[in-house]
């Protein structure tokens, strides 16, 4: 992928002028658009392919080479048969073609029946018949995931993921905002020390303290419990930092005026500072939701029972099974990606500016 875009060293210089306000497209513009459309293909293509594949029936998925769209052989109900039969176009010995339903295959022959006339049965060589195919999205790949007793428990996994995402985000917002409020609106001894302690955790990646965090969660009896995933990363240093920077811009006069009116400090926080910090809270919330929904290593370590699995863990465990049911795996992959995809479409602007200004993810 990357190689193809970089294999034209001679033309790189063409991209590089950052001139603006031109009216006519010159060849550097064409090259730029070429690169961008190649980008669309490489970035969107794989995901689009998975979405298309997720709508194919198990038999269509085993086809190689695969068809682009989800085709399926048409079926027809014939009198005297309990199940629908597959429809084929048959080339008869006299050279004419006819639509017939297949009853069964016997060796290299297929026994066919005329749907109009169920008494008329003939035997034809396999090569003389081609399936009648039509685009037929297999929506049941999706609906089956939610069927009770299907052994796939999509509802359970989605519920676990949702619970962790929502509860963790709410707690993160509240405790980060409380800390940011204390660190931005009060002068007290030890304030700088507290801020340093919180920001110092930026230097402690969760991958590095995995063993002790597991031990602490275990000693709280929370291994195999969704709270064991929620608690270890509720306090985010970047969240405190972002909120504090924002709260510093809220004028102190507002708070002084509220104190004159005998508002308690909690009321000042909850009723004045918190609502005014809404834009910063939104950014922190978006990043919290994203990282919680997509989290993998922490749940992998903490959640050891299948009934506590998040969507990510369930996907990982399904793809590792001996016989992978790809039609379900693909549908589940799409469903797992859907919430963040929707969030991205709606909130792209916030996300982009959040990353560009803080460098966090």
């Amino acid at each position: 992928m990357a190689e193809t875009t970089l294999s034209r060293p001679g033309s790189i210089s063409a991209f590089l002028g950052a001139r603006r306000g031109r009216r006519r497209l010159d060849w550097t513009d064409w090259l730029s658009y070429g690169y961008l459309f190649l980008g669309v293909l490489i970035m969107f293509g794989p995901v689009a392919w998975v979405v298309l594949s997720s709508l194919k029936s198990p038999t269509a998925l085993t086809e190689f080479p695969p068809t682009m769209l989800p085709y399926a052989t048409e079926t027809v109900r014939v009198e005297g048969f309990d199940t629908p039969l597959e429809l084929y176009t048959v080339t008869l010995p006299d050279g004419t073609t006819k639509q017939m339903a297949q009853i069964r295959r016997i060796g290299l022959q297929a026994q066919m029946v005329d749907p109009e006339n169920p008494e008329e049965r003939i035997s034809v060589p396999l090569a003389d018949r081609t399936p009648e195919r039509a685009i037929a999205p297999a929506w049941n790949n999706y609906t089956d995931l939610f069927a009770p007793n299907s052994g796939r428990n999509m509802t359970l996994y989605a519920g676990n993921s949702l619970f962790i995402t929502i509860v963790a985000t709410v707690i993160t917002l509240i405790i980060n905002a409380m800390a940011a409020f204390a660190l931005s609106k009060y002068r007290f001894k030890g304030r700088d020390g507290a801020l340093m302690a919180i920001l110092a955790t930026l230097m402690i990646p969760s991958t590095v303290v995995l063993v002790p965090v597991f031990m602490i969660v275990a000693s709280m009896g929370l291994v195999g419990n969704l709270w064991g995933v929620i608690l270890p990363s509720v306090a985010t240093p970047t969240g405190v930092f972002l909120l504090r920077q924002y709260m510093l811009t809220i004028p102190d006069e507002l708070i002084e005026a509220a104190r004159m009116d005998h508002a308690s400090e909690w009321r000042i926080f909850w009723r004045i500072v918190l609502p005014l910090s809404a834009p910063a809270l939104a950014v922190v919330a978006i990043f919290s939701v994203m990282s919680r929904w997509n989290d993998f290593l922490l749940p992998l370590v903490m959640l050891n029972r299948p009934d506590t699995f998040t969507l990510q863990l369930a996907l990982n465990s399904f793809q590792g099974e001996n016989v992978v049911q790809y039609h379900y795996l693909l549908a589940m992959t799409v469903l797992t990606a859907l919430p963040v995809a929707l969030m991205f479409v709606v909130l792209q602007r916030y996300i982009a500016s959040g990353i560009a200004s803080t460098g966090i993810k």
Partner: protein
């Protein structure tokens, strides 16, 4: 719908606040306003101490203690034995002669993976950012196209590419269509490693593109106007204006990319499982395997290895903080 949701959230919020408010009022009376900030700080500081600061010290203890027991009180101190076990090698260039051969293979893989992935990532991100910074139509759309994989979970990213790269996948279908043989992309060690790099670049480049784009947009336009007056070529403008002015942002991006590259785990764990063999096992996967997957669990070795990684990351993070402070202050 949204209205009722809003009012629902509002109701819950005010109920919660009503429940908490009397406690805070009482605390305010009891402690006085001077000590109240500590009450606001308490939940956050408790989480920070319990799940970040304290674990650093416990981790050190794990690394110098042995046995397969989880709780530190049950673990005897064995000094530097864990580090010694990690480092015990007859020939450091040949992992199979080491007592912890997987550690050395993971280390070796990481030492190759990180620089190649970071260089590729920064080059592709820079190229994309430069193109996006040009006077193009539908910039928002194209920016979104390059960025959206960042939002996908590592598991989804890995499954998407696994589906593309499988033996009867669309890539092999395209290969056959061009008259080429099918390739078992994730079964051959060298191609699995290359795809590990390609897939992680695909998934993360949008993040760095966005930061670089912000850096490019901060460069004043009139600098380019002046260069155009002097009829400087586009290449010259790029090397003499864009690159030097983008340097602070580039440094931040490089260090950030290295820090995250060292910690690569999720995508590869699902894509290749670290295989074939141990061809794509990186250092974090070693920690996970030793501490959590393999039986008996060896927390001591896992902690010793994470201490090594932690020190490397610490140096890099301090570097990054220095650099970003500089770039923000101009």
């Amino acid at each position: 719908m949204t209205l009722s949701l809003n009012s629902l959230v509002g109701t819950i919020g005010s109920l919660l606040a009503k429940a908490v408010e009397p406690i805070f009022v009482a605390l305010q009376r009891l402690l006085g306003i001077k000590r109240l900030p500590w009450v606001f700080l308490l939940p956050n500081l408790a989480a920070v101490v319990l799940f970040s600061l304290l674990p650093v010290f416990i981790n050190v203890y794990y690394s110098i203690s042995g046995s397969d027991r989880l709780y530190p009180t049950e673990r005897p101190v064995i000094g530097l034995d864990n580090f010694e076990a990690l480092a015990r090698c007859q020939n450091f260039l040949d992992p199979s002669t080491c007592s912890q051969d997987l550690f050395w293979r993971a280390l070796q893989n990481t030492v190759v993976f990180v620089p190649v992935q970071v260089v590729l990532m920064v080059l592709v991100s820079l190229l994309t950012a430069v193109v996006l910074n040009r006077d193009i139509r539908a910039r928002g759309f194209f920016r979104g196209v390059f960025f959206f994989p960042v939002m996908l979970s590592p598991v989804v990213v890995a499954l998407v590419w696994k589906w593309i790269l499988q033996r009867e996948g669309i890539l092999n279908a395209a290969f056959n269509g061009m008259g080429l043989q099918s390739v078992e992309w994730l079964v051959r060690p060298d191609s699995a490693f290359s795809w590990a790099i390609a897939v992680t670049v695909w998934a993360n480049m949008g993040f760095y593109t966005l930061i670089l784009l912000a850096g490019l947009q901060a460069i004043p336009r009139d600098v380019y106007e002046a260069a155009k007056m002097d009829s400087a070529s586009p290449w010259r403008q790029f090397t003499r204006i864009t690159l030097p002015l983008l340097r602070p942002t580039m440094l931040v991006v490089v260090v950030l990319a290295v820090i995250r590259s060292v910690q690569t785990f999720d995508e590869l764990y699902v894509l290749t499982g670290g295989g074939p063999g141990s061809a794509t096992t990186l250092i974090i996967q070693y920690i996970y395997e030793r501490g959590f997957a393999a039986q008996p669990r060896n927390f001591g070795l896992a902690a010793a290895a994470s201490l090594v990684v932690g020190l490397v990351l610490l140096v890099l993070t301090i570097l990054q903080m220095r650099l970003s402070r500089k770039s923000y202050n101009g």
